[in-house]
């Protein structure tokens, strides 16, 4: 008899997917904001020279 415990593995696979997608998104968002600030800092500095 095969035990009926598919719910646990569904939960595990969903967690893996959600955590990785969330983490990849967080890298992407952080990079976007850092690059925006970087671009702003560079354009801001240029007229002063």
């Amino acid at each position: 008899m095969i035990p009926n415990n598919a719910g646990y593995y569904h939960a595990a696979y969903i967690i893996v997917a959600v955590v990785h997608i969330g983490y990849a998104t967080s890298i992407w968002m952080r990079r976007r904001s850092v690059r925006a600030r970087l671009a702003a800092a560079r354009t801001e500095r240029r007229p002063l020279r």
């Binding site: 415990n5 696979y13 952080r30 690059r35």
Partner: protein, 235 residues
């Protein structure tokens, strides 16, 4: 047509490039999931929950790999004082924390149906938990120091000491458990796997390792941009 674009004529730095490695990794992981869910037989004794096997050990492997790379990059940093190595260690630590979190959560979800408990103070579980504590502490330490050189040196020291600590925790908890036997259900023994299960398992190891490489590279690029920003704002 007038050209309103010319007003902010900085370098087009805000445009992120296409990350082919990440796309490959995502496709590989999705393929592994599909193969594990639909094309790999259900194990008769443990039931469908055994399929956690295809995500849990590969995540644990990547977690230990990630912290191994933190230690190596930390030693390299103290030796050569190259800030790129520090950024590599930082990136690997963060990705490693993500994989450790997944390892702990999927392990709990596997332990409940098979061992009958969400958590047990077994040597492997405990050392994985402490791996998580040490590298979360590592990231908090980095956040608490402003000056890049000092941050790099301090975190390199912690990265190296942390890798020395893990064997000690493993050994002492292992002895603790054997001297204090508790009526915990034995670990599922590792029988020789049927071929199709083994192939899915190896495929999972491969695709998770590629995913690690992709996340590490993306995180490293972020670290590079952050360093450029710190330099720019520090002027």
């Amino acid at each position: 047509m007038s050209t309103p674009i010319a007003s902010h004529a900085g370098r087009p730095a805000a445009r992120a490039t296409f990350d082919w490695l990440f796309v490959v990794a995502a496709l590989l992981v999705v393929a592994t999931f599909i193969r594990a869910i639909y094309f790999t037989p259900v194990e008769a004794l443990q039931g469908p929950a055994q399929k956690i096997y295809y995500v849990h050990p590969p995540s644990a492997w990547v977690a230990f790999l990630a912290f191994g790379i933190v230690a190596v990059a930390s030693i390299g940093y103290l030796w050569m004082k190259d800030l790129r190595l520090d950024r590599l260690a930082e990136s690997s630590a963060e990705v490693g924390v993500v994989f450790t979190t997944i390892t702990l959560m999927t392990g709990s979800l596997w332990g409940k149906p098979i061992w009958g408990t969400w958590w047990t103070w077994d040597a492997r579980l405990t050392s994985t938990l402490f791996l998580w504590f040490i590298y979360v502490g590592y990231l908090i330490l980095r956040g608490a120091i402003e000056e890049p050189g000092m941050r790099a040196r301090y975190s390199a020291v912690l990265g190296i000491l942390g890798s020395l600590l893990i064997p000690f925790i493993h050994l002492s908890v292992y002895l603790f458990r054997t001297l204090h036997p508790m009526p915990i259900i034995g670990k599922p023994s590792k029988p020789s796997l049927p071929n199709d299960m083994l192939e899915t398992f190896l495929m999972a190891f491969f695709s998770f390792t590629v995913l690690y490489a992709a996340l590490l590279r993306a995180r490293y690029r972020l670290a590079t941009d952050q360093a450029a920003l710190e330099a720019e704002e520090g002027r």
